[in-house]
Amino acid sequence: MPQRNIVEAINSALTDEMQADQRVMVLGLDVGKLGGVFRTTSGLIEKFGSERVVDTPLAEASIVGASLGLALAGMVPVAEIQFLGFTAQAFHQIGPQLGKYRQRSRGRYHCQVTIRAPFGGGIRSPEFHSDAVEAQFVQAPGIKIVMPSNPYDAKGLLIEAIRDPDPVLFCEPDRLYRSGKAEVPDGAYTVPFGKASLVREGDNVTLVAWSAAVELCLRAADALAADGISAAVLDLRTLVPLDVETLCTQVAKTGRCVVVHEAPLSAGFGAEVSATLMEEIFYDLDAPVMRVGAFDVPFPAASLEDHYLPSLDRVVKAVKRTMES
């Protein structure tokens, strides 16, 4: 089977869907000849022309707002926001508009819109480029939130997103874009939303993560194994919908859990994971669920990001503390 990294997997998903469905179009900053700042849309304008692959003006709110309108006209827009941090400029068009449009039109209209955006630390980006703001959108019901961690999921979840009749925010871990290839089939396939994936089995503790933090947890599991701690790693894949069932079943098995994410700790989605476990399986917990996130300060200068982001060391320490309690 062909090997692809995440950039190639995304490019492959877009190509397949644009080929299969004339209505699918791509719009955003520099998605045309440049192929996007990370080249995820490379080659699309050559294949599908400048009517379906559109370099828009530098105005995020209009990229999202126009996508809503394009969807009402019967197109299937896949919009790119150059970095997730710049969804802030479009914030009012995402939750309150895209996410509400079905409701506010009493079901007359819906928005088959996908918003793709890279994010995450670890690649020494400028300000705002690394901000992990996914949890802000969980408080904007109506938007599904997809956080792939590997090439196979990236393609399958993106195709699922494009085909979903409701709006999807698709967050891409830029640190992992080219970090490794995996088997990614040619041709369309989907990975369903709301199904967490146990990417590593383990008996003593469950590490819960999404996006690039999954890779960190896998490294932590390796490190822990050396110390005789068997850690499972659960990749949530989508935050909305949340796979409450798998989450609870899995954590109940190990009795211990550490959630890891790149967003600041306070009110990050790790809190939701912890609160859910509290409500659902309190009596199955052998120790309190611990969270490891970034600190509660804005993303610092790139030269400091290694100290700001959850590190292997902090994850391992948190697990050990969990094991001791």
């Binding site: 709110a61 126009a66 309108g69 009493r106 007359r108």
Partner: protein, 359 residues
């Protein structure tokens, strides 16, 4: 007819800024609207004002939701709506130009039922090319541009008309929506109802520009100012813009200069901020009276006709309001209606929790 190109030195458009004067006389040399058509326009304008009066009364009795009347702006509301074709064109409202949506095919009982908190009955029927009213000021503009752009991509013969206020013109979404329309040459008409007020904020402190229409040049298309209390002029200006868009000429901005002859909405108290003189002055430019005067001057209008129409229109409106009042009220479960096509499990559980089932 006084022709005046307001903006766009590069691509001037001859515009009828005013056709019918406040005194009911035609501007020298201006071409009036065809009589049948003008009577139709008058009918809609009267309907709009009568509806406003009626529902404000109901609201005061607690029988209608918070409501923003269109009083004083009927020429803009009706003249613009008559310039688009409900069969193929799309209307993107803000919230004040309610009767424009009705003209465009949205049944009055449907939109009325929205103010009574109805859900299902307030749904815009299939085939009616109107978007929901927009409360988040100016958010509809990038959406309207996307819609027009999409219709063009799909090869449809449609034009979009999108409403915005003088207040809304200050939002970033105004800029982004109009600029994108210019770039994509989208078939769209931005209709700016400059009614001089954004709640209590006067147009004078909303912006320092002498003309909103002037902004169109900054997006590479035409802008025109028109007397928004003159239904003939509003129709002509909007129609020219619609025709141009349909022919592939891209977007236009029409600024209709009018006056909000009532409160912002039923919770507002303009006496705190409005000089009563401004209101009195505006009354002399009433959009309905001037048409009635003109029609009277050519023998097509008199007190009897006025009474008869008023009676008829009141009944028409009341029938719609009755239907709206009788329509199915929401049930608690409607909280969960129309959020996702396939609701996530968590919501399914919350739904059953609300229904009294176990979490």
């Amino acid at each position: 007819m006084s022709a005046r190109a307001v903006v766009s030195k590069n691509r001037p458009v001859a515009m009828q800024r005013q056709v019918l004067q406040p005194d009911g006389k035609l501007v020298d040399g201006a071409q009036p609207m065809e009589e049948e058509f003008l009577l139709e326009a008058l009918r809609w304008m009267m309907k709009s004002r009568l509806y406003d009066h009626r529902v404000i009364g109901l609201q005061r009795q607690g029988q209608f939701g918070v409501y923003s009347p269109g009083m004083g702006q009927e020429a803009s509301i009706v003249g613009s709506a008559m310039a688009v074709d409900p069969a193929r064109d799309w209307m993107v409202p803000q919230y004040r130009e309610l009767m424009a949506s009705v003209h465009h095919g949205l049944p009055l009982e449907v939109i009325s039922s929205q103010y009574l908190g109805k859900i299902g009955p307030a749904r815009i029927p299939e085939g009616v090319k109107v978007l929901p009213t927009q409360v988040a000021i100016a958010a509809q503009l990038p959406q309207a541009t996307g819609l027009a752009w999409g219709l063009k991509l799909r090869g449809e013969d449609s034009v979009v008309i999108a409403y915005i206020g003088d207040g809304g013109s200050s939002e970033g979404d105004f800029h982004e929506g109009l600029n994108l329309a210019g770039v994509t040459k989208a078939p769209i008409v931005f209709f700016l109802s400059n009614n001089q007020w954004a709640i209590s904020t006067s147009r004078r402190v909303q912006t320092a520009t002498r003309s909103f229409a002037l902004r169109a040049a900054g997006y590479g298309f035409d802008g025109v100012e028109v007397d928004g209390n003159d239904v003939m002029a509003v129709y002509a200006a909007t129609r020219a813009a619609v025709d141009k868009a349909r022919k592939g000429g891209g977007p236009s901005l029409v600024e209709a200069t009018t006056y909000r002859m009532s409160f912002h909405n039923t919770t507002d108290n303009p006496s705190r901020y409005q000089d009563p003189k401004d209101y009195e002055e505006a009354k002399t430019r009433d959009p309905i009276e001037r048409v009635q005067k003109y029609l009277a001057s050519i023998g097509l209008w008199d007190g009897k006709k006025d009474e008869a129409w008023t009676e008829e229109l009141r009944e028409e409106n009341d029938r719609a309001l009755k239907l709206a009042a009788e329509a199915q009220p929401p049930n608690p479960d409607d909280v969960f209606a129309n959020v996702y096509q396939d609701p996530p499990l968590r919501i399914v559980r919350q739904r059953s929790e609300l229904a009294g089932g176990q979490r």
